[in-house]
Subunit: 293 residues, 4 copies
């Protein structure tokens, strides 16, 4: 199948590469053309603008950094929406606010185009290995056309429903689970440290017993090692995500007290000068409150 | 080795049985003698009182329901402390407040006896299979004598330090992790349900991706199935545990905001008439706040 | 002096009337012209658009409903900014987000105009009596020109600083104090009601002793009387205000946990069907949590 | 009338003095006899023990520091309960937990004695001036006998109901209102300070407009002046009080989220080394979170 891919950051690049490996023709574009070079060497075709990509395919994926870049790439001049044919699909993998997702849904619908949310869980190496988790939502016929493509980069697809926003919300929810697990572990590490127990022992106890999910192992390890300065994702990104989740709570009328506490921790981290450190530095706010240097 | 065991509820009974199977002579007692019958058939010896048990052994285990029952069995008339020889060990597996643990530590120390905290994670079937996790803390020489015994009922022993209270606190901490994971999942289930997504799909997404620890699988399943009426542990027990954790936070000077929120949910559950239902019914408080019936 | 006034809702109307009574020439405009009738009878002059108002004066006041209406009236077609001369002043009394206030500040500055924030505390009857409290911030020379005008409708002027946003933030802060006092009183009323004490007795105790500010007397009375259905301001307005305050906290990097709790109560109220009732209905969320009907 | 008074700290001493001034015969006792000297000079009679006091009167007041001292003075050897005749009244003005109040109620009832809760609001100078606020609850006939005596030291009596615990709870509630007003003001002072506004200006705005109760004026002033080191009441006392309130919430099944946040602030203050400073130092926790030194 001939598909488009817009946005070749490390995640998008890996996903587009998997589509190529899956035997698909892939038309790509990116603000910085050089990032496409090796994909072109593997057979991808470069187009000058998102609109150019969209004009050539019936399915275009996008993977952008945030709401603003997605808005620009979709509805800006030479954006996806201006090139996509009626009936064609835009499958967007960016982590978006519900408000932005709604703009995609409505904006494409006005043009007779179809928006599918295809959020992904996992980091670039997982994308390269085709081991992402895909969280998808949209019209059933669009999903059925996308499933084989999802299989190129995803080890498993979780379908949330027919409204694309359901996948956007599910993605925000799972990101929240990272943050709230960090807060939870931070409270536990801090009180035990204050009582004289090395947090590494608590970490071993957690991950050696019933709290051994990747979310515990990966973030817990960074926390007990105080590995803050080689950020997988910085505090500012965590704050952006939890604020989108809280905003979703506002739209849905669902109070989310754990999310509010995480937001406060991230604000405190920023005010403490830790904006650009890994968001597990949230632990330091809990330690500070507990009088641990 | 000859060891004592006081408290033959379902956990204590299973643990004592494992000690017997491990080839040890076990002297037991229990308020209701009938609960000891099959252990006696397997070779255990019954003593009339905790003191009688203690007088016959150098190591006595106990597994009681709470602070009050532990206080009574240890320091009451004919209690363990009155029978235990100087230098002998009381290894207590009950989930206790730090205040009660301190009374055990100090009370035994005054008598030249040794208190070891040997909290356990797991349910009775795990105990029967010798697959508990043991959280231990106490003097090194006492721990070294206890290790082979822990191996009878525990698949793994986690040692926290030389002060027995370190194990009590670690145990309270891990129980808190159950509750806070439930609150975390409840917020996620509720907001997605409000947005039209079946929580079972969210559960599959969590446990099919990075949130697949037993704490997610076991409690999450009960939650999405609204399985409240066959309680593994009721709200009242959850409340007792989280209040002990909060009290520990007070003693250590560590604010624990996630724990406070859980306490409020449990109070709300009790006021809603759910005191005796499984503590995952906390989900209903979150749903109620979100306007979901 | 000749001054302009844009926005003749009940507050704006009263403020413009006070300026007239103070002997000033007042040029007014309003979407609905009829609301200006009695002011015209008292000597005010009507202009067709905000720009028309601004062209005739060196000082224009505005009092609009929210961010969006202010944005439209100031920077929209025929807006204030398009009519105001360089060096002229726009004194805005609307309750705005910091983001909107910043747009006013920057947008006027680009045109060589001066934005002053002149938020007010009090209700329309106080405005009619010239008994508002004015919270002002802006350049000193602009403030000095405005002071005599503030005196027409305000019993007292509180100046926050030279950056207009300081007054916007102070206004959001004082609104937050209403909400957080309501939550505080709600917790007190609910627990005492649960214990069998009529909340009216608690109200008398509060207001008869050390908690006798207008914020206690006015809102507390509505609460104990369950006067929800004749709203001074509805839950939706409270939610809008507390979300602006929380957003300000985000911009300043200051966690505001009490504000987060109020937001959650308002969300709960909306989900419970109380969106349009007086925001003191927050009490019902606290009562509900406590098992009081 | 002949009345007893046990506990001559600064509050008790002033209250007993007012009873004397009111023309009553007063029998007093105190651990440190010297504190009674000037009362004896005014005609009071000293008794060696609380029981001795109780034996001579039909009404005995007490004003002790806390639960423990009250328990000792009432039910300890030579305690009030051992001297009080059946039908006689113990009017206790201490700030007590509900659990302790219940012990007084039940313990006196077993002996045919009557416990009345007669909590007071105000500081020693107000007591000396007879300007306390009295919060009373108990059996109607007991209250009717006490009213003239309350009038000696109180400017106004607020009666809560026939169960003495109602007054204990009301007193805890009003103390909570101090703390939660401090947290509320702290959030406001901190965010405005971060935005460049001198908190004194915010204080003037609050107290010059609708937030002008004594609770705002007295504590707000200490806060903006950073007057932490001449404590009216230290953090430890605030913590004790808010924990009693939270415990009452637990007994009544009423979640009190604002109280939990105050508790966390006080714990943080203690861990920061501020245990013995005035409890308005809570402001420093909010400032710290906001990155204000």
């Amino acid at each position: 199948m001939k598909v488009g891919f817009v946005g070749l950051g490390s995640m998008g690049h890996a996903m587009a590469g998997r589509l190529l490996k899956g035997g698909h023709e892939v038309v790509v574009t990116n603000r910085t053309r050089a990032k496409a070079d090796d994909l072109l060497a593997q057979g991808a075709v470069f187009a000058e603008t998102p609109a150019e990509v969209a004009r050539q395919v019936e399915i275009v994926f996008s993977m952008l950094f945030d709401d603003a870049s997605t808005e620009e790439v979709v509805f800006g001049e030479h954006g996806i929406a201006s090139g996509l044919a009626p009936g064609a699909i835009h499958a967007c993998s960016s982590t978006l606010s519900l408000a932005q997702a709604r703009r995609l849904k409505d904006g494409h619908a006005e043009r007779g185009q179809v928006y599918v949310s295809a959020a992904v869980l996992g980091r670039p190496p997982a994308a390269q290995a085709g081991e992402l988790f895909v969280i998808a939502a949209g019209q059933e016929d669009a999903l059925s056309r996308l499933r084989p493509l999802f299989g190129c980069f995803g080890q498993r697809v979780f379908e949330m429903g027919q409204d694309p926003l359901q996948a956007n919300l599910a993605k925000l929810s799972l990101n929240f689970m990272i943050f709230s697990t960090i807060e939870q572990m931070a409270e536990v590490f801090a009180i035990n440290e204050k009582a004289g127990t090395d947090p590494h022992r608590i970490f071993d106890l957690m991950t050696g017993s019933f709290y051994n999910a990747p979310v515990h192992r990966n973030y817990g390890k960074l926390m007990v090692d105080h590995e803050y300065d080689n950020p997988g994702a910085p505090v500012t990104l965590g704050l952006k995500d939890v604020e989108m989740f809280l905003k979703a709570g506002g739209e849905q009328g669902v109070p989310l007290p754990y999310a509010s506490i995480v937001r406060d921790r991230f604000l405190g981290a920023i005010s403490a000068g830790d904006a650009d450190r890994d968001f597990v530095v949230l632990l330091e706010r809990v330690r500070q409150d507990g009088g641990l240097k």
